[in-house]
């Protein structure tokens, strides 16, 4: 069985900074990590590999600085990784990204299961996983927190608004994985040695994969960012209720009820 896990490298959540001038996320010079939901997807793949004979291939699209995350994925237990990296991909939104990744997955070939995170922590669209399934015409199960392989079918537990559902599909299929549904394992010594020995990452350009340059990049991305607003928190009133404890708590409660912060 071949499992392909799509990951993205994102700025570390705790280190997020917004450029005060452009109002966009700073991506250069901040520490990065594997997009956390993607790390959860990788953990599901590695758990499946613990139970079944499987090869786990990690795929990403981006600059070569993404090697850091691909190396980490291999150190955690993935077998190998592919980075689609090409200047002409710069500025691609979710539409060209889903197209380019699906082309790359076809070039890797022989896949039985594709896993992605539910969304990225730096853009939060949730488009790319379903987009890949669309391009490859695969059955998909979104927002899953557990995947089992039973009799050559995929069974996944899906988080719905009012509970959980178990879905079953034939292979190949695609699942998008919930953020925080598991605890991604740490890199192993054996894994880190494999990374050091080299040869665990291949870089492909658009030409290598056969991606149509007219379908990728900023110009071929339909999303237009019209405006970015920063949320401004209302100033705090800063009222202090003092004096007798019972009375001041009563006064505080009355004020909160009056301001509709709590129900009477």
């Amino acid at each position: 069985m071949r499992i392909i896990v799509c990951i993205k490298q994102v700025p570390k959540a705790q280190e997020l900074q917004v450029d005060p001038v452009t109002q966009t996320l700073k991506r250069v010079g901040v520490p990065s990590e594997i997009n956390p939901p993607d790390a959860n997807a990788l953990e599901i793949a590695l758990t499946l590999k613990d139970r079944h004979p499987a090869e786990v291939v990690v795929l990403s699209m981006g600059p070569t600085s993404f090697d850091e995350s691909l190396e980490r994925a291999v150190a955690m237990g993935a077998d190998r990784s592919v980075l689609l990296t090409d200047r002409i991909l710069g500025g691609s939104d979710t539409v060209p990204t889903a197209y380019a990744l699906s082309e790359t997955i076809q070039k890797i070939g022989g896949y039985d299961l594709i896993l992605t995170g539910e969304e990225t922590t730096d853009a939060s669209t949730g488009h790319v996983g379903p987009g890949i399934a669309g391009h490859l015409d695969l059955p998909q199960i979104t927002y899953v927190s557990e995947v089992r392989i039973v009799d050559n079918t995929v069974r996944a537990r899906r988080t719905a608004e009012d509970g959980t559902e178990w879905w079953q599909t034939n292979m190949p299929s695609l699942c998008t994985v919930n953020f925080g549904c598991n605890k991604p394992r740490s890199p192993t010594l054996t894994g880190k040695i494999r990374v050091k020995r080299g040869g665990v990452i291949v870089h492909w350009s658009c030409a290598d994969v056969g991606i149509d340059p007219k379908k990728v990049g900023l110009l071929n991305s339909p999303t237009i960012v019209a405006k970015v607003d920063t949320i401004r928190l209302p100033p705090r009133a800063g009222r202090i209720f003092s004096g007798d404890a019972k009375e001041s708590v009563r006064a505080l409660l009355d004020a909160l009820i009056r301001d509709r912060v709590v129900a009477p």
């Binding site: 890199p187 192993t188 010594l189 054996t190 880190k192 040695i193 494999r194 050091k196 020995r197």
Partner: protein, 430 residues
């Protein structure tokens, strides 16, 4: 399963020196470090005696991240409000094999680990090894998890003072409080020009201080101060037994030490930019584990290779020399046909060739002597009171030196015979 000829655990001075030596001898070598990069978990007072580095890398001075070469040694006795110091200046202190220098471990360890990598060793960071893989008592490699083992013909343990693996290897019993001290260090930022002006130093020149007496609130231990390029390392090493017995917090001792006028004058206006603490093996040759077993060698702090004789604190030089000796021993054992303990026993010979064991044995009594509480409390006070008698001119009649000493000795609480014995014992062990 991954395999190497040799695995070295810990990329501190001992580990990187062992890995460098092994790689040069043609061993495929894995160097494993638990910190994100070498040196981030390391801590020491601040000075390195260079002789062992000269043996390992004759060209070391070309690119070694030296902060300052020590050209002035100071020993200062403190009471609550007074100090008595001895200072030794010599440009010779900073030259040749006798040169010593101050350093910052994150830079120094990174530099040394890079040398090991350049020689062919594979460095892996961010992995903590806390078990050995053993078969019938013979060490076959390291084990991070049951399914994460890496094999090797020989494992060099250079894990530092906590020595978890050394104990796992059955080479050492659990640590006792009396065997370790607690070291604390503050890094205090000051402009390089201020340091040079204040200490009277040249651009690359540095000073080293050892403090005794009230530096440690009368607990057994002592203080140190080293000048780096634009920071000062100020710290204490205090008996952990005394800390717990007298229910004193090390931070409190460090605070009082920092606020002493004889310390303040050097660091005033500086900003504390880092605070660190570490265990320090204290009994020297007295607490040494077995240094080798089947397929395993122990080097550096893990082996208790530390000398504190009251006027010099040595650790990094012994670590480097023991790392070299471990590499040589593994090479000799390979030539002899196997990594069995009988062959690795050559380690002893290599350690003696670089005087590591001989020095440790010579100063074996020093740590015990240093554990004499009178040395940290009664005698510094006596010295200071003698100095006070000698230098006080207030019209009430000045004393001769000999009278001052005799009178002071007579008024002390310590019997004269005991004082004499302490003196003799001190002279022998130091």
């Amino acid at each position: 399963m991954e395999r190497f000829d040799a695995i070295v655990v810990g990329a501190g001075p001992a580990g990187s020196s062992a890995a460098l030596t092994l790689a040069r001898k043609g061993f495929s070598t894995l160097l494993v470090e638990r910190g994100r990069s070498p040196g981030v978990k390391g801590m020491f007072g601040g000075r390195i005696y260079s002789w062992a580095l000269q043996d390992l890398l004759p060209d070391w001075a070309k690119d070694c991240p030296v902060e300052r070469y020590v050209v002035r040694e100071n020993m200062v006795f403190l009471t609550e409000d007074a100090s008595l110091g001895i200072s030794f200046d010599s440009t010779k202190l900073g030259q040749g094999r006798a040169a010593s220098f101050t350093a910052v471990r994150a830079k120094f360890d990174g530099w040394l680990a890079k040398k090991a990598q350049d020689a062919g060793a594979t460095l892996v960071t961010g992995i903590r090894v806390d078990d050995l893989w053993k078969e019938d008592g013979h060490v076959r490699g390291v084990m991070v998890a049951p399914n994460d083992r890496v094999g090797a013909d020989v494992v060099v343990i250079a894990e530092g003072a906590t020595s978890i693996l050394t104990r796992a290897a059955g080479l050492k019993a659990d640590l006792e409080p009396r065997e370790v001290s607690v070291g604390v260090k503050e890094t205090i930022e000051l402009p390089a020009e201020t340091i040079q002006e204040r200490f009277g130093l040249g651009e690359k020149e540095g000073a080293a201080f050892v403090f005794a007496g009230q530096s440690s609130l009368g607990l057994r231990g002592g203080g140190f101060l080293y000048t780096n390029q634009s920071t000062i390392s100020l710290g204490l090493v205090v008996s952990s037994e005394d800390l717990s017995r007298k229910k004193v917090e090390i931070q409190e001792v460090q605070n009082r030490f920092r606020l002493h006028p004889a310390v303040q004058r050097w660091i005033r206006g500086g900003k504390v930019v880092e605070y660190s603490a570490h265990l320090v093996p204290e009994l020297g040759a007295g607490m040494m584990p077995r240094l080798w077993g089947d397929g395993v060698l122990v080097a550096g702090d893990a082996a208790g290779f530390l000398i504190n004789n009251g006027y010099t604190f040595r650790g990094v030089d012994l670590a480097i020399a023991s790392g070299i000796a471990a590499g040589e021993a593994a090479n000799a054992a390979r030539s002899a046909g196997s990594m069995r303990a009988a062959n690795l026993a050559a380690y002893d010979r290599f350690l003696r060739a670089s005087n590591v064991l001989t020095d440790l044995e010579r100063f074996r009594r020093a740590p015990l002597y240093m554990k004499n509480e009178r040395l940290f409390d009664v005698y510094p006070r006596m010295l200071m009171e003698i100095a006070e008698r000698l230098y006080t001119v207030d019209g009430s009649g000045q004393q001769r030196l000999v009278d001052a000493v005799l009178e002071q000795a007579a008024s002390a609480d310590v019997p004269k015979l005991k004082m004499l014995l302490d003196l003799l014992q001190g002279a022998r062990s130091m």
